[in-house]
């Protein structure tokens, strides 16, 4: 699989589709009544707002010359009540848009996050994590206004434009057509710029994503950076990333900046044309009268203001499209490993495992497993050994269906594992992973991850089975001590013990230990071994370890190299055979 690094722009797999907007609008369905109500109220306000110039005009034209102060006060009260009404409606509108906008963002973000939980390792492995994070957080945040306040304004503005245009048509078809020409011209210009504009915003979003990736990596790898004195070099790289963000932003922004003035210029030109044509008609005694012309001019700015607003909205839409595409790219990523139709709950497995002629490769052409077959009976413990990169971890990834195989079958209790739901399969197959991950929270929280409803007592018991109890009690707050992801507080061995306790607590029927004990000292490991032996009773076990003393006790040992099983048998059998295993085993103490 092709991997992306922080300073390479991610390629966009899919192009922007109008469908995205429709799908986005669906998030507003739960609040559609609120949206319609708001729309209605906003239209009502704009109508009311048309009243206020009439009130002032009446005062100026009639009441003041008549010295009718009473009417002036009445008009003043009328104006005041319009403003009060406006304030009330504005408050309602803000409230409605607030709720609708924030809910849309929260719901969309939830869907993106939920999708991430279903995506396979490849998705996470093939790009820096900062680039995934930026989609969930920063990109989604930028959508909020587009569909709520912006949408309402778009609708009311369109409404105003249409009404105004009809009024203008009634006054003079000829002049209206001139105005329409202006609209057509600038629409054409904007439309022509669309592709360029989209490209520059896409470029900017890619640079933002790169920067985010680099920040993420810099924080996660700070220890390496400091120990290698890389600060200056990193600062240079970071500066380049920032500079890329800046220049790409400016390239995108310049189009935005020019957009508005351009539309204004075209609108002014059109207005000038209207004046010139109207003026000459007036002179030549054409059909247009002075009165019509004056009334027409009154509509000109009423016509252009909403068009400028719509234009701004369009701009915003094009800018956000760059983010929307990325969000929908995640949402539309096919989930390769998923429940097949009719998948059933596995229930509690008995623990028979079989690989039947399994072929597997992560990348096309590089076979990791090649026609592998083996059988493990319930309760048996199998040790898998072999040189680094031989495919040991892959077997585990396949058994837990983190990846699907290309050929062959994997069976548990004689049934193909694809028949079962993923969650029930994985609940039966517990894995103690090579890379431990500690979540921020207490030690309790981290162990409880294996069984969410575990009591403190259960947690302590699991911890003591894996010999983690002793060091935990020595932390300043014991089980309540806060630890975190980078947690330099805990040594690698201690983190392994915690994650071991986590797996124990989850109580799986098939247990896989993947180099689980490589950083644990011999004494602890010995105690641990006893714990494991107790635990493995009645369970099927797979042990991957390089320390052969750990695996000698297994019922059977499989030596794997280049994706096939080279040897299989008990420790004694294999030692007698004097083959691969013998060579590996003796090299441990050979001197």
């Amino acid at each position: 699989m092709a991997r992306n690094k922080f300073d390479v722009d991610e390629k966009l797999e899919s192009q922007f589709k109008f469908e995205y907007i429709v799908r986005l609008a669906k998030y507003l369905l739960p609040v559609k009544n609120l949206m319609f109500l708001t729309l209605g109220l906003v239209v009502l306000t704009s109508i009311l707002n048309m009243l206020s110039p009439m009130i002032t005009r009446h005062a100026m034209d009639v009441s003041l010359p008549d010295k009718d102060f009473k009417t002036v006060v009445l008009l003043g009260l009328g104006l005041l009540s319009i403003y009060v009404f406006n304030a009330v409606i504005e408050r309602f509108r803000l409230k409605a848009m607030n709720i609708a906008g924030q809910s849309l963002v929260a719901d969309l973000r939830r869907d993106v996050f939920m999708k991430l939980q279903q995506l396979p390792f490849d998705f996470f492995d093939s790009r820096p994590h900062g680039k995934i994070l930026v989609r969930v957080i920063n990109y989604v945040n930028s959508i909020s206004n587009l569909m709520t306040g912006g949408l309402i304004n778009l609708i009311t503005d369109t409404f105003t434009v249409i009404v105004t245009f009809v009024m203008m048509l009634v006054l003079s078809v000829k002049l209206s057509l001139i105005m329409l020409c202006g609209v057509v011209i600038f629409s054409a210009v904007i439309f022509m710029m669309k592709n360029k504009q989209r490209r520059v915003w896409q470029n900017y979003s890619a640079k933002q994503s790169n920067l985010n990736a680099y920040i993420h990596e810099s924080i996660s790898g700070i220890k390496v950076t400091q120990s290698f004195n890389r600060e200056t070099k990193n600062r240079e790289i970071f500066e380049t990333q920032c500079e890329n963000v800046r220049t790409s932003f400016m390239k995108a922004k310049i189009i935005d900046i020019c957009n508005w003035p351009m539309v204004e210029t075209i609108s002014t030109l059109t207005t000038c044309m209207v004046f010139l044509v109207g003026g000459s008609e007036l002179v030549s005694g054409g059909s247009i009268t002075a009165g019509t012309l004056i009334a027409f001019v009154g509509y000109v700015s009423l016509f252009w203001t909403p068009i400028l607003n719509i234009c701004n909205y369009y701009n915003q839409l094009v800018n956000t499209a760059a983010y929307l595409e990325r969000i929908y790219e995640v949402l539309d990523t096919p989930v390769l490993v998923k429940n097949l139709p009719g998948a059933v709950d596995m229930g509690e497995a008995k623990g028979d495992v079989e690989f039947k002629n399994v072929d597997f490769s992560y990348e096309e052409g590089v076979k990791i497993l090649d026609d592998m077959s083996f059988k493990v009976k319930r309760g048996e413990t199998i040790a898998i050994v072999g040189p680094t990169g031989a495919g040991k971890t892959t077997i585990i990834n396949l058994l837990t269906r983190f990846y699907d195989i290309q050929k062959g079958e994997i069976l548990i209790d004689g049934e193909n594992i694809t028949k079962f739901t993923l969650s029930s399969l994985r609940e039966n197959v517990g894995v103690m992973l090579q890379d431990t991950f500690i979540f921020s929270g207490t030690v309790y929280d981290n162990i409880r991850y294996g069984k969410l409803d575990a009591t403190d007592e259960e947690i302590k018991k699991a911890a003591s089975v894996v010999c983690a109890d002793e060091f935990i009690m020595e932390l300043e707050k014991g089980y309540e001590t806060e630890v975190n992801e980078r947690g330099s507080r805990l040594s690698t061995g201690q983190r392994q013990l915690i994650s071991f306790a986590r797996v124990l607590l989850s109580d799986p029927k098939i247990l896989i230990l993947d180099e689980a004990t490589s950083s644990i000292d011999t004494k602890t490991e010995k105690a641990l071994q006893e714990g494991i032996n107790r635990l493995l009773e009645g369970r099927t076990g797979f042990v991957i370890a390089h320390r052969l003393s750990t695996i000698r006790n297994a019922d059977r040992i499989m030596y794997i190299d280049k994706g096939t099983i080279k040897e299989c048998g008990t420790h004694d059998e294999l030692m007698e055979k004097k083959g691969y295993y013998y060579k590996l085993y003796t090299s441990q103490y050979a001197e």
């Binding site: 957080i137 920063n138 220890k223 800046r246 004046f275 011999t522 441990q588």
Partner: protein, 580 residues
């Protein structure tokens, strides 16, 4: 330092350009009156007055004014956007530099998601302020003052009555800013928390899947997501309350003009002409007042963000180098001395009274149980932490008297917890020495026995490894990390559990290679396996933070203590096997 003062430090170099932009803004504010003015003249003079000859001139004047205005507008916005981008770039780079200086206790107590958010979202709200809000303030202030002057010269009494409303609006604005500030700070904190939850979920995606905890994660995420949503709704709710109020107050100006002005006209204290002017100019007073709402809103938002950015920027690392260190560019010889060193994390002791001496060229091994303090010894040598008591000396100098560069320059560590970057394998090995040639990278890889498996990858050294080296086995990661350390050609090499995940043959190869080319290099081997440590010149056996035994393999075996015990457990099987 006050947040505003801190901000100004960044703005200062760009003040001339910004002042120019503000002048353009003001010019445009004036120019925007031209169009309605000329439009009015066309109606009055040309259409009503039938003075057609004027039409051409007026249209041309209008066109020129608008063209000028549009050009100014483009220049204006370009300057402001450009300036804000430059300022946030400088902020980001300085913040990043300051972050890289922070010591481990800083990274222990600040979550990745939070730090990231300060470098992205928070800085973006500063950008918005510089590019838009400041300009809005100037524009509105200009409008307000101009309108005040013009109206004041026409009718001071009515103007004063209108201005009397200002304190009311000001008070409302003051309460708004007082309330919205904390709400924004809360929203910012919630966003950081949300970022943290999402970030941990993404980084820990393997564990999440292995434990089938997608549902639990979603619950955790929902909590943070909803908290952020609620915080946003809450801060907007304050705006919902105050913005319409401020708008309403600004609008009452129109009512005042209508009623009070009307009364003045009727009582002949003002001409109808002045009244008309007042009426048409009142928007210039009322628009700035109406803008007050969003100006306060966005400024408060920026301040909440700026405080967070500033806080990190000003954070002083507890561990910093001695700038007066004159020998900062010298390589270390490789002598390491620990004199009665103790260290504790938050009061929990990690090592107690540790003393030893390592001479140039020696190999020192540290063996002990998980959590016995082995890695702490390495962390103190690198000055990732400072000893609580006692002294750590390198070539006889106390590490606290040296520059950090001096301490770390000629020391390299292959760490227990391997971090690889999302870069090519070549880039990862050359991390400590970016100028290294490909030959040097290859040489280091060969020494670490990594060359073979790297060559077997389809893209060889150009293979991009995922963050944390996902896609590589534990043993492969360890060997890349070793190659990375070797390429630095250090005088002191620390191998912290570096070969635990590689198979035995590989370990043997690596050990032989290291011994062969060792020469003057001081080497520390932190390990669990006897086979990894037994050839060392000095073996330190640690237990619960103290050195309980020390000596060579033979001495320690003869001593018959803890080391012997460990030895027997590990080698026991070997003896049995020999008997077979």
């Amino acid at each position: 330092m006050k947040t505003s003062k801190w901000m100004f430090k960044y703005i200062k170099p760009y003040v001339p350009g910004m002042v120019f932009a503000f002048l353009l803004t003001i010019t445009n504010t004036v120019l925007s009156n031209v169009r309605p003015l000329i439009q009015g003249m066309i109606v009055d003079e040309v259409f009503e007055g039938r003075n057609i000859s004027l039409l051409g001139t007026l249209v041309a004047a209008m066109l020129i004014a608008i063209l000028l205005k549009d050009v100014f507008r483009i220049i204006d916005h370009y300057i402001l956007e450009g300036t804000s981008q430059k300022i946030i770039k400088n902020m980001r780079v300085e913040l990043y530099t300051s972050l890289q200086k922070q010591d481990f206790s800083f990274f222990d107590s600040n979550r990745t998601g939070d730090i990231m958010n300060r470098l992205t979202g928070d800085i973006d709200s500063i950008r918005h302020f510089i590019a838009w809000v400041m300009n809005g303030m100037i524009e509105n202030l200009f409008l307000f003052v101009t309108a005040l002057c013009i109206l004041g010269s026409i009718n001071p009494t009515l103007t004063l009555i209108l201005v009397a409303l200002t304190p009311v609006i000001g008070t409302a604005g003051f309460f708004f800013s007082r309330k919205v500030g904390p709400a924004f700070r809360n929203a910012r904190a919630c966003l950081s928390q949300l970022n943290t939850v999402a970030q941990e979920n993404i980084s820990g995606n393997r564990v999440v899947k292995a434990m089938v905890r997608e549902g639990f994660e979603l619950e955790k995420f929902d909590k943070a997501n909803n908290a952020y949503k609620d915080a946003n709704i809450a801060s907007n709710r304050i705006a919902q309350k105050y913005m319409p109020l401020l708008n309403f107050l600004a609008n009452t100006l129109n009512v005042l003009v209508l009623v009070v002005g009307g009364w003045m006209v009727i009582s002949e204290k003002m001409t109808i002409g002045d009244y008309v002017t007042f009426n048409s100019m009142s928007w210039a007073l009322n628009a700035p007042m109406r803008s007050l709402g969003w100006l306060i809103n966005d400024t408060s938002n920026m301040l909440a963000s700026a405080e967070k950015v500033k806080e990190f920027y000003l954070a002083e690392p507890a561990i910093y180098g001695n700038k007066a260190d004159k020998e900062r560019n010298k390589r270390l010889e490789g002598n390491v001395t620990f004199k009665n060193v103790s260290f504790s994390y938050d009061g929990a002791p990690a090592i107690k009274n540790v003393s030893f001496e390592a001479k140039r060229g020696q190999t020192i091994a540290i063996i002990g149980e998980t959590g016995s303090g082995k890695s702490t010894v390495a962390n103190l040598m690198f000055r990732f932490y400072d000893a609580t008591e006692g002294e750590v000396l390198l070539d006889g100098m106390n590490v606290k008297d040296m520059s950090l560069k001096h301490v770390r320059k000629s020391m390299a560590m292959a760490m227990q917890d391997i971090f690889l970057f999302s870069d090519t394998i070549e880039g990862n090995i050359a991390y400590g020495n970016p100028e290294a040639s490909f030959e040097e990278v290859k040489e280091a890889a060969i020494k670490a026995d990594a060359h073979g498996f790297i060559e077997r990858m389809p893209e060889g050294y150009d293979t991009i490894v995922g963050e944390r080296g996902v896609g590589l086995s534990g043993g492969q990661k360890q060997r890349i990390s070793l190659a990375r350390a070797l390429l630095k050609k250090p005088s002191i090499l620390i191998l912290d559990d570096t070969t635990s995940a590689v198979d035995m043959e590989t370990e043997k190869y690596i050990q032989e290679m290291l011994a062969r080319e060792g020469g003057n290099r001081t080497m520390f081997i932190i390990a669990h396996r006897i086979s990894s440590v037994k050839n060392a010149d000095l073996i330190l056996v640690m237990e619960k933070g103290s050195i309980i035994e020390r000596g060579t393999h033979e001495e320690l075996v003869a001593l018959g203590g803890k080391y012997k015990e460990v030895c027997d457990t590990q080698m026991g099987s070997f003896n049995v096997k020999e008997g077979e």
